[in-house]
Symmetry: C2
């Protein structure tokens, strides 16, 4: 079973909607990087049971995103804020007016805070 | 049963996660502004059944937000983008440098597009 980087990102976003047992398995597999056998040992579920549970959760995470699209939307917002920061920096670099520099700096700080 | 403006906002955000029957009832009640009796007539469910279904969905919507907090996060992003737009407008108003005006306009347009 391959680890999918997208699952890991969607888990950070929608993980709280998963059932606790599945959430724990996905967390151990993706965030703690345990193997299926190690998770089976730790949780007392069979290796196949762990595998099925993770597969089910992965599908649910993809379903949440297909229905809501909020992860994609957030990524777009982050990219846009990155672009705004860079443009504000350009203003800082080419202006000599202190008032304009102050305003550009304010934009950069607001964009930076929103990305956190 | 009072209509709650927050439910309506959360419904736009997380509505797709509700079961189709509940989603339909909430939509008719909040977006189409039908009464419980009208929804009962239209769907063939008892008035009490409609009421219970809507109550259950409202609770689910609040639970989604409590778990994920994405609605709150989006609102913060929108407010921040509003602030960025206003600051970019200040730069446009007080600068006479065409290059700086072009950059400030670019920030304003990017922020506006992200808010859509």
């Amino acid at each position: 079973m391959e680890k999918n980087i997208e699952v890991s990102l969607l888990f950070d976003f929608y993980g709280e909607l998963l059932k606790p047992s599945g959430r724990q398995a996905v967390n151990l597999y993706y965030n703690e990087d345990l193997s299926l056998s190690e998770i089976a040992d730790q949780t007392g579920i069979t290796r196949q049971g762990v595998r099925d549970s993770i597969k089910r959760c992965e599908q649910q995470l993809f379903d949440f995103e297909e229905k809501l699209g909020l992860f994609k939307r957030f990524r777009e917002l982050e990219n846009g804020l990155e672009k705004i920061s860079a443009t504000a920096q350009e203003i800082l670099d080419c202006s000599t007016d202190n008032n304009i520099k102050r305003l550009a700096d304010e934009i950069k700080r607001t964009a930076g805070k929103l990305k956190e």
